[in-house]
Symmetry: C2
Subunit: 620 residues, 2 copies
């Protein structure tokens, strides 16, 4: 992987930062966040401005360019990757390490007095703007909104914004009509005396209207905004999209049953002026909900006295708790996904000795096998297929220049998932096709112990996910090891593979309490730089459980794995497991064998079935 | 325990809330926090306004009186106690339960439109003021500073503010002169370009100047403020206190070696005007540090552009990491404390069958035995001595009307501690003098497992204490049990028994990372309302440890128990312990026997030594 050469680009950007053509007054620093106007994690090519400017293409990172410096902040998943993708004009800021300054502190340390720091108000979240503005003004600087995006100004050949075909999901997949979702939302608004709700997150809009698109790779969403009132529904999107009769019928555009369920479609770009118009017609006590992660630009379109910013919108909360139809869909999607992975591993076992399988061809094979399953739509994120030292690059993605051959001598880590019409999957397995070293087995076993500790945890209703994070680390910590990423994220149902408001991480405290019906990943890991990477990930469903007692009638919860793919026993040092952990593993493998075995049988996939049987023998 | 009758008192308070004698405009609600002007947790009798108004005398709680309602918020430790101490004019607001509204939400739900909510700006912290003011103004109300305290207005016979004799601590106890502490503080101020630091917390002032007082029961502190400049030191306190030649010499009041170490003593009450004067003389870029937990009144004496509020002051951080002299002192204090407790338990075992020992007499005996130890100063908090159902009242304190007799039939919980010149102790043991039930043993064993899980935890440098909280609960959660309080708090060295900035709790995320030299409590529990209470508490020292590996050279930490008092084996169901837990317990008891045994021998306390030997047999 060779770094992007950015000398000329930075020169141009610094010129634009002083040019009256784009800005009223010169700025001394320009912040380039990684998000789009919807604060999406995965973004369309036209929005990949941070990647364009510095070369680093991981999913999280913020670049800042001053007259003298260029620095890019990212987290532990990406330290290696970022250091390989950026040239030496850039300083890598390793977030989470004690010695790494925050963006604010760094700016304050390098800027001349009374500096102006610019940022595009559409791609910075309101809460981030606020924190940054406060820190800068405390040090005598100011944060200014630059309306024209300065990266776009120097980006020739910038791709256009996609506008893909929309598809409507019926009750069979969603379990709840969009009309009922609107009714429930209005119920929440009435409880809190809220007149309007501005929906800015793309997955919330897709979920609310039971529509899917493919504007952003891996995420079945489409560019849109919505404003929901007590009696009105405005949907902002490229109007060409609602010419399709299927979409028109789904949204009842020509036949709304009730006036309060009539959807008014407006151009995507008109959201700002429409929101201003709505805001200016508000009564003195009326309030508008908007996510505090919405863009600064849109947030400020609502006068402060009417603005009611919320950390998690009612849609985000409702979407996180899957209904029975969605849960059933997720189960089915995970069964199909496991079928594809069993086939993949059976195939790999046969092919690897020939020396012809590479990280890329293995990833392609996985995709091919998944695509044979019913209702397959696409992948849910770029497959991480990594051998040996590449495995230590936490969010590695194989490229021709980094592509390694799978062999009998190195650990292989594959983190992959798919979008099916009935659900989204995300699974990581780490395997060895020869004989793993004692150290690799030891580390793998600690990771497995952490995975089980979370998966088997029993905890009271109302517990927040971050309180479970240390369970995943205890075995690693005991031996002086750790991993620099969170343990779990919410997973959407045929939606984004990462979603809020729940998660399992030492970094987040604003997560919402876990509830039965939420779906998360459980994915501890261990990464030995330059040598190997280990991660073990299942998607798990939060389910009620009844332990021996029930303190204050609070009720208890635990997790049920939806992912049913064998965990390689060759990688386990069984002596390090407790009896309880061995029981968990045997029970898990029995379930894999029963559920996936039946489906493999049904699909007539004999080789994969043999492999499954062999891999799910109980350990003693 | 009979509740305080508050009908007349509330009538008077509501009258005063409308009286132009005290306030310019009538207020519709009045907030009565539990703190004093220094936001102390324990307070002097003259500051017990919340207790005076509602009757509840626990350490944490906030009362709010409106024209129609009176409500009091407290946490899980105090639900039972508060419900017993308050009459039915008061609504108990159980913090931590999902259905309990926040103070803000409750006010908004009960107040008429455009209400004014009053509070004494000296006893509300600046950060709390800010949050409350924001919430109220968002709902059309306003928070107003009422300069005359309205409780004082209706409180005949209010006690006067104490002004006890000060004592000076030499290097033998402190390990660092106050002059060196000032130098280190100024070093931190220089790093951050801070001109002044306003010290408002009483324990920080006592620690900084190596002085102790006894203005507040159990806390060896004295009422004072300080303003530390780059070249000046102003100490605000009752000037009669510095007539004492020992204090004068300690502070070098008549012989300052260097001008920048000259302490200027000023009247306690003059802090506000002095701080205003300091603030008005500031250059345009000068900054003043003040804790964000300082009073609203004092915080606002500093113009906003000069104010630099900090969550934890450099003194709070420095004080938390004990130096070798302090650690040695804490070790000695805990050895002496264990001697007293071994004697107590030996005595109880002999006396209880006679039926003459009560909660109060047992607590008195514990105090008497502690007072025989060298450098004993007093208790560090009111002894919780509780039998059977009283044990379920988490912060119970025996009173004549609740006093139960210790017997062979009920669980006995004693949580107690002392102030010695060399250190502060805090220890809880739960014991049974007859035969505990299987259920009591089961619960005790879960609590013990939690205690060990924290105490034996290995974790990377930089880990925050709240990440360890769930370790203490896992065994209880597994069986559907829990406890509604945090797991640990920082402990001062001959200072407050509760101190920041570290702790182990699911409730706090703003705790500072754990560092070697910090001292905390480890005290999980289980409480069966109406039946019994279990808590197991050691004070533990954060120490470096060297596990097998050292990921990214971060280094690892663990805890070393300073408390060395046997854990009653009769209460343990050993079958529920893992081998690792049994090893921990045996190792702990061996250490108790060696260290405390030697001291009991030296002090010639034969019966207690016999008891210790009997209680520290290894389990198999």
């Amino acid at each position: 992987m060779s770094p992007k050469i950015t000398v000329e680009l930075l020169r141009q950007l610094r010129q634009v930062m002083k040019s009256s053509k784009y800005i009223t007054e010169p700025i001394q620093a320009y912040i380039i966040p990684s998000g789009d106007a919807h604060q999406s994690e995965y973004i369309a090519p036209c929005d990949c401005r941070r990647e364009f400017v510095c070369g680093f293409n991981g999913s999280a990172g913020t670049a800042i360019v001053t007259e003298q410096h260029a620095a890019m902040w990212t987290d532990g998943r990406y330290f290696l990757q970022a250091s390989q993708q950026m040239d030496n004009n850039w300083t890598l800021m390793k977030m989470g390490l004690k010695e790494t300054p925050s963006q604010e502190d760094w700016l304050i340390s390098v800027l001349p007095e009374n500096s102006k720091v610019g940022v595009d108000p559409w791609i910075i979240a309101a809460d981030q703007w606020k924190a940054m503005a406060k820190a800068l003004s405390g040090a005598g600087h100011s944060l200014v909104a630059v309306q024209d995006n300065l990266i776009d100004a120097v980006w020739e050949d910038r791709p256009v914004r996609p506008s893909t075909q929309l598809s409507a999901l019926g009750l069979k997949y969603t379990g709840l009509s969009w009309q009922d979702k609107i009714r429930q939302l209005r119920g929440k608004m009435a409880e809190r005396k809220i007149s309007w709700f501005v929906v800015t997150a793309l997955d919330e809009i897709a979920w609310l209207f039971n529509l899917r698109g493919s504007d952003i790779e891996y995420n079945p969403v489409f560019f849109a905004y919505a404003i929901i009132g007590v009696n009105s529904i405005r949907l902002f999107l490229d109007e060409k999209r609602v010419v399709d009769p299927v979409v028109r019928e789904h949204l009842e555009l020509d036949s709304a049953s009730k006036p309060e369920l009539k959807v008014q479609c407006l151009p995507y770009e008109s959201i700002y002026t429409e929101l201003q118009a709505v805001s200016s017609a508000l009564g003195p006590k009326e309030k508008v909900w908007i996510s505090d992660k919405a863009s600064c630009a849109l947030t400020q379109a609502i006068p402060k006295i009417h603005r009611s910013p919320i950390p998690y919108t009612p849609l985000c909360l409702a979407k996180a708790v899957k209904n029975p139809t969605e849960i059933q869909g997720m189960r089915m999607a995970h069964i199909k996904d496991a079928v594809a992975l069993c086939e993949l591993f059976a195939w790999l076992e046969k092919e690897i000795p020939k020396g012809t399988v590479t990280e890329i061809s293995a990833a392609d094979k996985a995709e091919e096998l998944r695509s044979q399953q019913k209702d397959f739509v696409g992948l849910s994120f770029p497959t991480i297929s990594s051998v040996g030292p590449n495995g230590a690059i936490i969010h590695y993605r194989p490229l021709p220049e980094t592509n390694r051959t799978l062999s009998l001598n190195e650990v292989y880590l594959i983190d992959s998932g798919a979008q099916y019409m009935d659900g989204t999957t995300d699974v990581t397995r780490t395997v060895h096709f020869g004989t793993p070293s004692d150290y690799e087995k030891e580390c793998f076993t600690y990771v497995l112990k952490g995975h089980i500790a979370v998966s088997a945890a029993v905890f009271p209703n109302g517990t927040k996910g971050h309180l479970l994070d240390s369970f995943a680390r205890a075995a690693l910590w005991d031996s002086g090891l750790d991993y620099l990423h969170g343990t779990g994220h919410g997973v959407g149902c045929f939606l984004n593979v990462h979603e809020g408001p729940c998660g399992i991480s030492y970094k987040t405290f604003a997560d919402e309490p876990l509830e039965a019906g939420m779906i998360l990943s459980d994915e501890p890991g261990y990464y030995e730089d330059g040598s190997f990477g280990i991660r073990l990930e299942n998607v798990v469903l939060v389910v009620p459980t009844k332990p021996k007692y029930n303190y204050r009638n609070r009720g208890s919860l635990t997790f049920e794995p939806l992912t049913l793919v064998p965990i390689q026993q060759k990688m386990i040092n069984a002596e390090l497991l407790t009896q309880k952990e061995r029981d968990w593993l045997n029970h898990y493998h029995r379930k894999c064998r029963e559920t996936i075995g039946a489906e493999l049988e049904r699909q007539g996939r004999k080789e994969a079935l043999d492999w499954l049987i062999q891999e799910t023998q109980p350990i003693v």
